[in-house]
């Protein structure tokens, strides 16, 4: 078995202890989506403000393990300010790193993973892949959520 140090990298524990972008956004105008990890009970809610196809703000609420929380925190930092196509490409690239089949096409835009590469070690712990991807799948759902109207 790979050592736990592959999983619990310092940067991961740092995001876990001091999560970025915690909180909620008012819906509307923001959109949101909820995700559940049936395996461990983790629950996450992603709030997203999209203006002119740019993610202008993102917030993360919910509870979870170190991997799901740190992944959500890093994700929130990485997507803020990106365009929606960039965000979709990032999701694809991240899931690819998690060895999840995302089809044959490469992401349309090459967005660097940056800090997120620290999560690479998760692949050696297959049951944790769902933890690492929970925030990302929920992000996709939030992107696809109907654009809220004020009425």
């Amino acid at each position: 078995m790979p050592g736990l140090e592959d999983l619990y990298r310092e940067i991961i524990l740092d995001h876990y202890r001091s999560p970025r972008n915690r909180g909620e956004l008012p819906v509307p105008p923001a959109r949101h989506a909820e995700g559940h990890n049936p395996l461990c009970g983790d629950e996450i809610t992603i709030y997203l403000s999209v203006d002119d196809d740019v993610v202008s703000d993102v917030k993360v609420a919910g509870q979870g393990c170190s991997i799901s929380q740190s992944s959500a925190s890093m994700m929130s930092a990485a997507v803020k300010g990106k365009t929606v196509p960039e965000v979709r490409s990032l999701v694809k690239k991240f899931k690819g790193m998690m060895s999840i089949d995302t089809g044959d096409d490469p992401p349309s835009i090459d967005v660097p993973l940056g800090d997120l590469e620290a999560l690479q070690g998760v692949v050696k712990f297959p049951v944790r892949i769902k933890c690492a991807t929970l925030a990302w799948n929920t992000l996709l759902e939030a992107l696809d959520a109907p654009i809220p109207s004020d009425t």
Binding site: M1, H36, P38, L39, C40, E43, P126, V127, R128
Partner: protein
């Protein structure tokens, strides 16, 4: 590649079981099939070294078991050429699979003024769930009748399908061996705007199954009839249909969230797999389809066509008019299920006399009472073949039938 069928036969330990000093002659595979050592060993080994919960716990042993479980799902999907493993729902048997379709899809889609078309060939598993639902939701059941040689009489099919919302039919009769033209029936159903539900319980064990070539909507089958363990069956369904259907059995694993005031469901297939699944049985089912694939279903079908021809010919030559084999004579449109009448001797008595010679056949209504009434009997004697049978089994059957004449003095 030519198959050594003796080696195949030797894979089945029970065929060496002796009663009264002689091995059994197993001709009841239409009822349930025997299991090769590869399947028995896969389960035994899993229980001794790898048994763990599925989809629930995060330690490696559980992860490993979950992977084996999901890879069995992938094997079963591949075996019937399902587009995606997620479209395979594991049930306890084919009966539950058909009930799931009736209660969930039918429950949401059928009401007064609607019709479901069935055939006179159906097994109770593809009749009673529809009758139960019809009694609740008030739709009509219509029946495709038979020709005299036990094939579907499709003369009025289009009329029967007019306004029908579902057409549910067997891909192979468990009484007469009849193999209806599935692709044709599916497209007739679709032309009429009906979903096509195939009871493939008797078909998948003996033929190359391709749910995409059929273009069907739902296909039900059972592990225990195809060299796999009891306690598990499968429903394949189109994702867009499964996705839209309400859940069937409620409990753990099928939920996304549960609150005091209600619940939300997990994605398919989990939505339809409430509770602890048949863990070991699914793994055995996977081993069974892999075993069958290692031989090749086209080869299995060919072997059974030859054996069926041999059986019809041997019994006919030996007993002439004293024996009638029911169902189509053309072995291209039938499987190795041989219901027969013998000298007016009651099927139950035939089976008794055959059993004296260790020949195991089923006598009864085969869970197809409406078909029995069409045939004008209340039971048939039925010898049903599988890949492990050979000509010696047919010869043993033919020899043993002699004993019946002695006793009943016909």
């Amino acid at each position: 590649m030519t198959i050594d069928w003796d080696t195949v036969r030797a894979d089945f330990p029970i065929l060496r079981r002796e009663i009264d000093g002689a091995p059994i002659v197993y001709l009841d595979s239409g009822n349930t099939s025997q299991k090769p050592r590869q399947v028995i060993e896969a389960m035994d080994d899993f229980l001794r070294t790898s048994y763990a919960p599925i989809n629930r716990s995060a330690y490696r042993l559980a992860g490993e078991a979950t992977d084996r479980f999901e890879s069995a799902r992938a094997s079963v999907a591949r075996f019937v050429n399902a587009p995606s493993a997620d479209e395979i729902v594991f049930t306890k048997n084919a009966t539950e699979a058909l009930n799931l379709v009736a209660a969930s899809w039918g429950g949401a889609n059928l009401g007064p003024g609607d019709a479901v078309v069935l055939t006179h060939l159906e097994h109770h598993a593809n009749i009673v769930p529809w009758q139960m639902l019809a009694a609740k939701q008030g739709f009509e059941l219509r029946w495709v009748p038979l020709t005299t040689d036990g094939q579907l009489d499709l003369t009025d099919l289009d009329r029967l399908l007019t306004g029908a919302k579902a057409f549910a039919f067997t891909a192979m009769s468990n009484v007469l061996g009849t193999i209806p033209p599935v692709t044709h029936l599916v497209s007739a159903a679709h032309d009429a705007g009906a979903v096509a539900i195939v009871d493939a319980c008797q078909f998948t064990p003996h033929n190359v199954t391709d749910v995409q070539a059929w273009d069907a909507d739902f296909v039900a089958f059972s592990s225990h009839k195809m060299c796999g363990p009891s306690g598990v069956g499968a429903l394949w369904g189109r994702m867009e249909l499964l996705d839209a259907m309400p859940p069937y059995i409620g409990g753990g694993n099928m939920i996304a969230d549960v609150r005091l005031d209600g619940f939300t469901t997990a994605p398919v297939p989990a939505k339809f797999e409430a509770g602890t699944p048949p863990i070991v049985e699914v793994i055995g089912f996977g081993a069974a389809v892999e075993y069958l694939e290692s031989i090749g279903m086209a080869a299995v079908r060919q072997h059974e066509i030859e054996l069926t021809r041999y059986a019809i010919d041997t019994l006919g030559e030996r007993y002439g008019d004293d024996i009638t084999i029911q169902g189509p004579d053309n072995v291209e449109v039938r499987g190795g299920v041989l219901s027969f009448k013998f000298r007016d001797i009651h099927p139950h008595d035939i089976s008794q006399v055959l059993d004296q010679h260790n020949v195991c056949v089923r006598a009864g209504h085969h869970c197809a009472k409406p078909l029995m009434r069409v045939l004008g009997v209340n039971a048939t004697a039925r010898a049903s073949l599988y890949l492990y049978n050979d000509r010696s089994d047919i010869d043993a059957l033919a020899d043993a039938l002699d004993g019946a004449s002695d006793i009943f003095g016909f």
